[in-house]
Symmetry: C2
Subunit: 101 residues, 2 copies
């Protein structure tokens, strides 16, 4: 993951898919590839079992807003929200501290 010079933000996207989410995998890859080219993009983590979790990291709230507009446009073209997701939650968060190994 790239490092932000100051504070940064995380967008937590949790979802449950419908039983037959046609076109979902292709679109998910496309969206991830596009996210990586956006201004302010720092990194992404994702995993799916019953619940899918994707966390993307961004330099500013403005970067997140721009990305939201773009990604929603893509998904809307595919009517994706209705087709793919049984439910989903988006949480925009400010990372206050981090540690690890």
């Amino acid at each position: 993951m790239k490092h932000s010079t100051g504070s940064y933000y995380a967008v937590i996207f949790t979802s449950e898919l419908n039983d037959n989410p046609e076109g979902y995998t292709e679109m998910a890859h496309k969206i991830e590839a596009l996210a990586k080219q956006q201004k302010g993009f720092l990194g992404i983590d994702s995993a799916r079992e019953k619940t899918g979790i994707t966390i993307s990291y961004w330099e500013t709230l403005e970067d997140i807003k721009n990305w939201k507009t773009q990604s929603e446009h893509l998904i809307a073209q595919q009517l994706g929200k209705e087709k793919w997701y049984k439910k989903y939650t988006v949480r925009v968060c400010k990372v206050e501290r981090e540690y690890g190994k």
Copy 2:
């Protein structure tokens, strides 16, 4: 998930496991069960593929601090950080807004 009356926090834990993380699954279940009993606990989301992601939600930073002390004590008893994790990152975040369906 329980709803907080005001603002709330998310602890994002991402990790990669070692090849033979002996005792990990049992301990992960034990820790999740214990988290659910803590003051200020609101909910948890988790999924694992190559990367494991666990996000727990809490009412206050004080609740997170208390939980950190307790969970680290449990894990330390098992020497878990050395045995289980190739690497991990913990991010403490303030949830600024959320939406979904």
